[in-house]
Assembly symmetry: C2
Homo-oligomer: 139 residues x 2
């Protein structure tokens, strides 16, 4: 299993040059339990005393998404994408309609569900589920 070793044992994607900036971006994502925007990541890197130009952060994120190490998500009613370290766990989020807080959902409605399509066939690769409502602070 895993003969191709697309991702190395230390979590680094194979065939990807190690640079200060790339390590910073991945470290920030690994240390966060919530998805972060490119700007969040940029700020956290600065706060850690390192530095990486914002456009570089975007390029790194794009690469990491392509390599499967990072997951990119678009949260509705927010114009910016968020990124998280791929821990290979199936997760979904609930988003508060007032404060935009993100809450992790533990179960997935798609587990025992077979989507039906009108006429057309469609081969399902994955899904994206977002619950919206109000968190306990905003209720």
């Amino acid at each position: 299993m895993n003969r191709l070793k697309k991702i190395k044992d230390d979590g680094w994607p194979a065939g990807v040059k190690k640079t200060k900036q790339r390590e910073s971006v991945l470290a920030v994502l690994k240390n966060s339990d919530k998805p972060l925007s490119a700007m969040d990541i940029y700020s956290k890197i600065e706060k850690n005393g390192s530095s990486a130009w914002l456009s570089t952060v975007y390029r790194i994120l794009e690469l990491m998404v392509k390599k499967g190490v990072v997951i990119k998500t678009n949260i509705m009613n927010s114009e910016m994408a968020v990124y998280e370290f791929n821990r290979f766990k199936h997760k979904h989020y609930a988003v508060c309609m007032r404060c935009n807080k993100i809450i992790i959902m533990d179960n997935c409605p798609m587990d025992k569900f077979i989507p039906q399509f009108k006429d057309e066939e469609f081969s399902v690769i994955g899904h994206n589920i977002e619950i919206f409502g109000f968190c306990k602070d905003c209720k």
Copy 2:
């Protein structure tokens, strides 16, 4: 029931001035069975021989969303929002990862599903589900 009549019998939201542009936008959305972007709507209006500045289309859409006549959705991996006429039917979409075609799903996994949250309480108002994969032409 419906004593407040937020939406009139002809489908027009109450207390909203009728203008050429607003009628054009709603007509385009009513005649489409797929969600459309603001730009799509703008083009279709031009094609119909009418006209409405793009910023006006955006303003109208924002208003109609607020009035509950139109639904705004953000489809992932697409940087633009799409809008559809609210037919008060529960629907979800499958999006082809190659050609971005949108296919309507007939059933909903959330029907018999109760979301669970770790510690925090969350009152669920609604949900957003997107299936991705390949349509029959792109398989």
